[in-house]
Symmetry: C2
Subunit: 175 residues, 2 copies
């Protein structure tokens, strides 16, 4: 479990790999992006993509899975505050094997919520040839370790009585 204080600019995380099948491309598209170039190999030949390609939102969903199952494990979960500059740079084809890379570009406390902070990441999705097929920047809401409160708390209580120090609103007012 990672807290705001565990993240630093320049830090990088890599995900596991995810093979993308034609069946999955078409199943996702049937439900969420029913356009010929995501559904049918023959129709796709004549389209903008010159061949069957995964919906961009499918690539985004796969990337979320790769983030959530990666070593980037913020306490409280991967909770996005927003996404910037989402770009689909190359088509994702049946048989491609995707991998995500998360690079920390900023960390800062939240002014409005003392128990939380924001971690800004550039998230790149690569195929088996190392080509970036998708990229975006996102901001995660991450819990703080609150070392400051830990210290002031120790002054008032014995170590054995300290409750869970991870998370928000966990500290009763000192007696």
């Amino acid at each position: 479990m990672l807290y705001l204080e565990d993240f630093f600019v320049g830090q990088s995380f890599r995900s596991e790999q995810y093979p993308v099948s034609e069946q999955e491309i078409c199943a996702f598209a049937e439900r969420y992006d029913p356009q010929p170039f995501h559904l049918d190999a023959d129709a796709a030949e004549l389209s903008h993509f010159a061949g069957l390609a995964a919906s961009g939102w499918h690539t985004a969903a796969i990337t979320m899975r790769l983030m959530v199952t990666s070593p980037l494990r913020p306490a409280g979960g991967v909770i996005g505050a927003g996404v910037e500059e989402l770009r689909w740079l190359k088509p994702v084809r049946p048989g491609d094997v995707l991998e995500a890379r998360m690079d920390v570009v900023q960390t800062r406390p939240m002014a409005s919520e003392p128990g939380r902070g924001l971690v800004k990441l550039t998230v790149s999705t690569l195929n088996q040839r190392g080509e970036t097929v998708q990229q975006f920047t996102c901001t995660l809401v991450v819990r703080r370790l609150r070392r400051d409160l830990l210290h002031s708390h120790i002054e008032h209580r014995t170590l054995g009585q300290i409750p869970d120090l991870h998370g928000n609103a966990f500290l009763p007012a000192p007696a």
Copy 2:
């Protein structure tokens, strides 16, 4: 089928409605966003979301379906060049009924490709209470009608011989 010339700033499109079931929220999350607050109602109670909520990427995927099946039908398909400022403003809950609204905020020809143009939209996803649960701006690549070429072409050929005027690179050089 809509061409660049059919879009104008201030134009608005509304989608059909999409009911979101608990079963679909959990099925999407199991595959693409396996975190307790998207998978299990009890675990979700204690989370950031205080109850089961759809993955943000699930809301985005549903919104794509609502766009593709709406009256906004660009010739060549709904092809996104990029997405800006994707925000999840409110949780999507089991039983919510979503609807998308697409507002045109800019249209312009593409300098690099004379047969295509760009249409910038603000896409808002609303629930049954009219609350915006998600919003983003996206830019679509849209074919041009090429009325300019139509006119110069008429000078050289009789009207009956004019080939398909929709799309790119359709005009042979005048004889």
